[in-house]
């Protein structure tokens, strides 16, 4: 019994230690970011690896989510004869909630795992240690560009997701089902506010970008220097990123969209 309590205590202390270590890592990342801007090509190359390469999956998912939202939304709205509000429904759902969250989840799955695997393998292959030997700070050359690239890519990907989703909903709602296109757009323009809805959505994507990129980098950096360790780290990245994105989503939604 006392052994169990001791183990519980050790586990709790280990979690606290990890949190502290992670916070120090985060502070390091932020501190090294201005320095990495002296070599902008590093960040550009990372934006290409993280952002450009995720474009197809984000755009395709945005399109299909928009199509599905339009179909399901039409079914429910037709019960109340309010089918002309379909544009408003889809736009608000995408811009406020689904755009940032689904983009962050896909981003964690696609870009987060590749970041973790890359950093983990660099560490396993002792590349980071070799850099330190050459007096090149790996945090400036390797970690900070990836962090900055993640923060830059996420809002852009989130916006592309929402925009493609709205266009796909237009295709289904107006061209296929036959809702009046003027009502579709005018209800949307009437109901979607630039600062409150789109602005908050962009803020969400930035926060999610910071959270998932940081989680991916930290887990990769702290992974065991073995192939199994790297494999386990990639799974851990997806789980930790996804959970923290969903949890942050709840907090941000409560802060931003709660009724006074």
């Amino acid at each position: 019994m006392s052994e169990f309590i001791a183990r519980l205590g050790r586990w709790a202390l280990a979690i606290l230690a990890t949190l502290g270590h992670a916070a120090a890592f985060f502070a390091d990342l932020v501190r090294n970011t201005p320095q990495c801007l002296r070599r902008p090509y590093l960040t550009t190359a990372q934006v290409h690896a993280i952002g450009n390469r995720s474009l197809i999956i984000i755009a395709a998912s945005g399109g299909t989510v928009g199509l599905v939202l339009a179909l399901q939304g039409y079914y429910t709205l037709s019960r109340y004869g309010a089918t002309e509000s379909l544009g408003l429904l889809v736009a608000l759902a995408l811009v406020r909630e689904l755009g940032p969250v689904i983009t962050a989840l896909l981003f964690a799955g696609r870009a987060g795992t590749s970041l973790t695997a890359e950093i983990g393998l660099m560490k396993a292959g002792e590349q980071l240690a070799a850099m330190e030997m050459m007096a090149v700070d790996p945090r400036v050359r390797v970690l900070a560009p990836r962090f900055l690239a993640g923060i830059i890519s996420m809002p852009l990907l989130g916006a592309i997701f929402s925009a493609v989703g709205v266009i796909a909903a237009y295709v289904v709602g107006v061209l296929m089902i036959g809702i009046d296109s003027g009502a579709f757009w005018s209800q949307m323009q009437d109901g979607v506010d630039v600062t409150k809805d789109i602005g908050n959505g962009v803020v969400k994507t930035i926060v999610f970008g910071v959270a998932s990129t940081f989680a991916a980098l930290y887990i990769g950096y702290e992974s065991e220097a073995t192939p199994e360790g790297v494999a386990q780290a990639t799974t851990q990245t997806v789980v930790v990123s996804s959970l923290s994105v969903l949890f942050l989503d709840f907090i941000l939604t409560a802060l931003m969209f709660s009724t006074p």
């Binding site: 934006v47 290409h48 736009a91 009502a183 209800q187 323009q189 979607v192 789109i198």
Partner: protein, 161 residues
Amino acid sequence: MSKKQIETLVGLFVLLGILAIVLLALKAANLASFSFHTTYPLLARFDNVGGLKISAPVKSAGVKVGRIASITFDNKTFQGVVSMEIERQYQFPTDSSAKVLTSGLLGDQYVGLEPGADDKDLQPGDTIKMVQSAVVLENLIGQFLYNKAAEPPTKQGAAQK
């Protein structure tokens, strides 16, 4: 991939993202309606425009013939002034009437134009003389309740006497 190619691709990606944000932002503001037919403006003054929105359709005989361009308030006559853009291929007589109608029970409101019998047509910038304002549900209910209260006693009550 060469450095130049990567930078170009990243630039395209950032451009696409910014374009998406601008597209979303414009949709929340007033997007200029793209119409392939040239239009001419007509005005109508309503006592109550109800739930009319900019870009709501203007229909005649149920067919869309134009769009609402702007809704403003006239502080002198205290009426709502609705400016409509009617497609140039449709001309209406000068004694046509405009009504604010609802599509479906809880749907969007639109302006319905009913043609008159005059020989002369409305010119661009003319005001439609005969209008019927939107039905305000609260006024209707209030009217109904008032009428109910002012009714003479029922036949049943009279027979009991």
